[in-house]
Symmetry: C2
Subunit: 358 residues, 2 copies
């Protein structure tokens, strides 16, 4: 790590740091003229990541720590209200900074809370999961859930900077690594066949830092081109129409053992690869290749046919839809996405049936 230098990536007027990121964070805070800052953590990042940050902060002490429970259940309006009230109690003003130290739950929730507090205070992300490094922390989407409907409330607000520390991934449970990996695979599948091949031939139990870096570059390129999701950014939705429904379904049903975001997206990518084959010409060979790679990495999830109606209802509530029609991003080939494909209930059911046969 120490000899490898990865350039800072420039996103929509903010930098994404890779080298000595926590030092960069401290420097950002020191030079940023903030009246006070707030570090948002969950139980796990408070244990595994906060100590290093505190150590690097040295005698800087104009901050408070806000700790929430770990897990998607915290990405809810009630926790958000809790954060707003703590900011009020801690005397946060318009020159305060929010530091989101954690996975995608922390960055989505902390980003939303900050982007609406006093009509918007600055925030930065220090993503500590693979998923949040390669995906959630880049692109400026903030969001919270209501009644388990994911990201139904949110804003488009860019962080002031992102600080990627590869070292934080060391304590990440294997399932969480797999969760982030799904987005990396997606990045290859939608726009970069070479990267997909590279991933396919790597040991992915713990992805190398260069692979992570490349994944962020891809995501960054897409969101810079289309910050508000009017066009190419929709490419990132591959696997997410079915995947989000499966994720919500699992959260509602599998108390305590629910699928992670990436595990659900992995299923979604298989279903949507099948739809791509059926509807817009993804070859059988590439469909098989995608299925092979994903099934070799991810455990099988049992989806009974009786779940289809509920899954379809969840898809209809998806933000991405208009006029009640289900809209999917599919692939014409590996490395080439196609947006705005309307899929019928029957097609979606068939794709789920395909997954069930694997």
């Amino acid at each position: 790590m120490d000899t490898l230098h990865l350039d800072t990536i420039n996103s929509i007027d903010y930098p994404i740091y890779f080298d000595n990121s926590i030092d960069q964070l401290v420097n950002f805070i020191k030079t940023g003229n903030y009246s006070r800052f707030f570090i948002l953590t969950d139980e796990n990042t408070a244990q595994h990541c906060l100590p290093l940050v505190k150590e690097k902060l040295g005698d800087i002490d104009n901050y408070d720590i806000i700790e929430i429970n770990a897990g998607e259940e915290s990405k809810d309006i009630d926790f958000c209200i809790g954060i707003w009230k703590m900011l009020i109690d801690f005397g946060a003003d318009r020159k305060s900074l929010m530091v989101n130290l954690g996975g995608g739950v922390i960055s989505d929730l902390g980003g939303f809370a900050a982007s609406t507090f006093k009509r918007g205070i600055d925030f930065v992300h220090v993503p500590t999961t693979l998923l949040s490094q390669v995906d959630a922390s880049v692109g400026g989407k903030t969001g919270i859930d209501i009644d388990s409907i994911k990201n139904i409330i949110g804003t488009f607000t860019q962080p002031k900077a992102v600080f990627i520390a590869y070292d934080f991934l060391k304590t990440l449970p294997e399932r969480q690594v797999l969760s982030g990996l799904a987005e990396m695979l997606k990045h290859g599948l939608i726009v970069d066949a070479d990267y997909w091949n590279q991933l396919k031939n790597s040991d992915l139990t713990f992805p190398a830092v260069e692979l992570i870096y490349h994944s962020i570059e891809i995501k960054n390129r897409v969101v810079i081109e289309d910050p508000k999701e009017n066009g190419i950014r929709k490419s990132l939705n591959f696997g997410h129409t079915v995947g989000h429904a499966v994720e919500t379904y699992s959260i509602l049903k599998d108390d305590g053992t629910a699928l992670s975001h990436g595990e659900a997206i992995a299923i979604g990518m298989i279903c949507e690869a099948w739809l791509s084959h059926k509807k817009i010409g993804l070859s059988k060979a590439e469909l098989n290749e995608i299925v092979d790679v994903i099934t070799s990495l991810y455990p099988k999830y049992l989806l009974e046919e009786s779940a289809n109606a509920e899954l379809y209802a969840l898809m209809q509530k998806d933000k991405k839809n208009q006029n009640g029609k289900i809209n999917c991003t599919l692939l014409t080939q590996i490395g080439q996405y196609s947006i705005d494909n309307i899929c019928t209930e029957a097609e979606l059911s068939e794709s789920l049936a395909f997954y069930a046969t694997l």
Copy 2:
């Protein structure tokens, strides 16, 4: 009215209509390619304003009505959650439109709910109070209260259009007219001495449409120059540091008979005119002139000296402050504002004492 033509005002990429505004609204909806729209009203606007809108909509029927209780208490996160949930239940998608038909409570709350629903859907304002016509509907501030702290949560999001219908003011109670008038007086005091003189010499029990138009022009000019409140827009805070504290104090204390926003701002303008005189050279003659105009229009409100500590605590929670210092916009003369004047607790208490002597 029918022969008088008032040009559409161009704001930050959206129009403010004056002539045949409700027809313009219907036209906007017809040509806007929205999947569905939602009219947010309160009890009073449902009674006094909605019928005309419905009549003009004719056989357009792809909409739902969301009605909330009248009053500031509705501008709260709980009502906001209620609106979000209704939008979900009504099947709102990203191409839905929110039509805010009401006073500042409706436009602030509806604007915030819309600007965060699915990361932002379009909204328009149809302001039906004088205050919301000359102030709240222009400038893109949305907001809600938490624990009675005003506008603590919100966004900067511009409406797609504003439709001003003078006729709606006919049913407005006198106290509500006075409430909006305070902002009109403020507009003259901060940047337009001629307009102030015009107002001073008019019958203000029911302001003429041209005066309203001019007031909107002033506000619009200010917010176009400084959309995010980094400089000149702070001029609009004149009267609002003390005024907001008095308003919150009254809401907490005077169950049912609380001061309106404008009534509180009227008091704030007197106190801050006094501070302007003491601190930055507003002449005694102009101070007296301001006091005379305001006291001739607004009833006296009893503020015991024992309230000062609580008022000061409220001012400290004000969004406008940094590092716990109280920041006021003052006047060097009528028509000339001055921003970022730090006022001490003693000075603020004295200004309240001055008001008490009147």
